[in-house]
Amino acid sequence: MSAPLQLPKAVKDAILGFNQASRRNFLKGSGALVISLGVATLPGANVFAAEPAAGPYPDPDFLQLDTWIVIHPDNTATFFVGKTDGGQGTGTAFRQMMCDELDIAYDRTSLIMGCTDITPDQGGSGGSDAIERDGIAMRRVAAEARRVLLELGGQHLGVPVEMLTVANATIALKSDASKQVSYAGLIGGKRFNVALGGRNVDAIIVKAAVKPVNELRVVGQSLKRYDIPGKVDGSLKWAVDMKLPGMVHARNVRPPLAGATLQRIDESSVAAVPGFIRVVSRGNYVAVICAREEQAIRAARQLKVEWKPPATAPFPASSGLFDYMRTATPSSVGEAQVVGDPAGALAAAARVIEAEYEVPFQGHSAIGPAHALADPSNGQMTIYSNDMKAYGLRNGVARFLDMPREKVRVVYMDGPQVYGRTAADDAGFEAAFLARELGRPVRMQWMRDEETAWDTKGPPYVFKLRGGLDAQGKVVALEYDACAADHNHLGYNEPDTVLIAQLMGRRPERPARGSAEAPSTLYAIANRRTTTRIVGMPLTWETPLRTGNLRDPNGPQVTFAFESFIDELAAAAKADPVQFRLDMLAVAGEDGVFRKARSLAVVRAAAKAYGWDTRQSPKPRTPAARGNLLSGRGIAYTYRSNTIAAVIAEVEVNRDTGRVWVKRLVCAHDCGLAINPEGLRHTVECGMLHGLSRALREEVQFDTEKVTSVDWASYPSLRHSDTPEAIDIVLVNGDPNPNRPDLAPYGAGETSHKPLIAAVANAIFDATGVRIRRPPFRSERVLAAIKAANT
């Protein structure tokens, strides 16, 4: 029943044997026997025969059907896609979409992702658009394969295509099911040799049409993820597990003070460490190489290095961050967006509310520190990595090492979470650089303190909002001003922004522009002014306070401020927070993807699922609530691209200790067509809990010399004891709807994450009457706020 290539094995094969050489020959099909429709036999019998992959590694041709789909002689299929799966089950979803179009059972297929020389460049992952954007190309090529197979089937059976039916990878006469031929019988082990059209991989043009939604059968099923069994029995080989003959271990030695300059390395300090091989340094970049991993760790700790402190402080202490940001000269100022006459409307308003909000640096802090293995054999460079953008890593390393792209490949393997641009990039560049220096395979892994202090961070923000209410409590004007410290953004594997390049003294022509975002909201407010600006830290380069996309890069910060402020306006208007939002959505304009109607539906669905009773916040104190536990509920709503989410948090606040426990979370979510509803629910759930961690625990702390958040004690994260006791997720319009054959799937990786901080802040206000305008809502901050309000 199972395909011969269950994925863990297939990925292993992709790495260890599968096999670039035979795959390459397969794709070339040189000297092959050509039969009808250009179908060619395979030069070797087995596509997956184990041969060394000597390189070079030219790009797979995305305009060849054979690049995407192979039909095996046993009537199974392997799909090749240029994406990566950070743990949200997108690989399973890709297979489901392709199975539907190809008409093959899910368990007769396997999927290979993100290996730059054998999968077409679809950019890896990012932006939660894998299913929305890249899924279309996958569906089209699978539909085209089915179309070609039907034509072949018609020739084989001697009838026109119209007389045929297809199911489970077998083509049969509609009138006589005994007359049939399997896909394998037509093409097993042979090439399609069918060219596709289109300018780029997202715009592939095929002759076949994809199926309407109401004909999809695999899509919409909650199939179990294929990667989980290998992850719970220990059989899956991860990027962190890769080993090669002759491999040695590397660890970095970072400057102890941000902006320090290397003066001298005393190599004799580690010469006696068993297994010591070499210290490699270039500029301010220092690494130690040893035969064994524990030896490299010891040597990196023991190595004596003299550093010269920087002349001026690299950044303010985290306690002074927001004062610094408010007064720093902006490096760029966004053009003011003005609608109506906000100044006039505020002047005429019955009531004006004003509030400032702050969000600190928050980190990726992957559970597994950054790592990669690089192999310089045969004058090529192969990097085994979990980098979500495998193709970008390949291109970046080629430029960094000044190697032709064809000589560099990246083999994507599973790894710790990648919710944006992480140090996985950095480790890949470092391993490749060191492998070339040593002329042998080098495995790099960061240590915990390095990961927490030096990994990329989500930018901090300060906000100032002003809103005007008329006499009826309606919002007539809103001014939004956002300032983000975001000036040294880790880009997309550029060879001059990764940390090793910075430490070596390479600099891009100018720092990244960074961004301070405006809120994504559909609320109809007649008079609005939106202003944004960016400030940088004094030290732009070689700094641990470097920013990089962190799960909806600006959304949690911006939505926290904006949706908190909407709640403040609702409270000032003595309005119910849900009804207040619905009223502003109801008069909004509609757009092409019906975001207004869908927003209204989502907010209503969340309120209904929660059992929301209409009343204003804060919750009136009843005599029964005299204990130390105060409860309350809060809502926040947002959209991200075409996906809508509303989250309701129910909190319990201990007024004696300040501890906040989010007891229940409800999310109503509309991302259009749900490919795998259970997988979607899990992603929505974990996106919320990741947001909860940022709401309750996470803050990067630093003094004026270095980042002092260096482990799980100094950078606390959500824990088991913080978990809500109930989580309810409503997929609004989430299932295939037979009445909407064109319903598109939208992204789901980040939207539920975005409103979480705001929902919790609003719930704390409802419970306590205290508005906390700066996460994380750790006990000491909440307790201080409660005490301040009561004195």
Partner: protein
């Protein structure tokens, strides 16, 4: 370097290492096991957890020379080709996202259920509190533990 004898998943191994080497690197690099992984090297996150004589132990801070007793790793939970009930529950609940930390989640849960087969929710939370997950799969991990402890079928069921 010296010869150290280890009992791992029922088999005896001899490795020639510095006796102060943390057990984690011996398991991963000498015995080629993939279950325990490096997370912090400080005993804070549980990603490296193995079970030694019924106790969940952080292999990243346990010198190989200090090990007394048989070691069970994630790879050793399945018996005769059948997954351990916790592993099956993890699949049934689809508990993982990226899965990197799940070794620590499963091994910590196993040590809990071995000493307390029917823990309350509060006991589950307390016992699991040191097992960190940055994908935040806690809700489903707890549901999977309940599923094994109580045969609970509902992900969100709370005792």
């Amino acid at each position: 370097m010296s010869i150290v004898k280890l009992q791992v998943n029922g088999a005896t191994h001899e490795v020639d290492v510095d006796p102060s080497t943390p057990l984690l690197y011996v398991l991963r690099n000498d015995l080629d096991l993939h279950g325990p992984r490096f997370g912090c090297g400080m005993g804070q996150c549980s990603v490296c957890t193995v079970i030694i004589d019924g106790t969940a132990v952080r292999s990243c801070i346990t010198p190989v020379s200090a090990v007394r007793g048989g070691i069970t790793t994630l790879e050793g939970l399945a018996k005769n080709g059948k997954l351990h009930p916790l592993q099956q529950a993890w699949i049934d609940e689809q508990a993982a996202q990226c899965g990197y930390c799940q070794n620590g989640q499963i091994m910590t849960a196993k040590a809990l259920l071995d000493r307390n087969p029917d823990p309350s929710d509060a006991e589950i939370r307390a016992a699991m509190d040191g097992a960190l997950c940055r994908c935040m799969t806690y809700y489903r991990v707890q549901a999977a533990i309940r599923r094994v402890a109580r045969g609970t079928k509902t992900a969100g069921a709370v005792k």
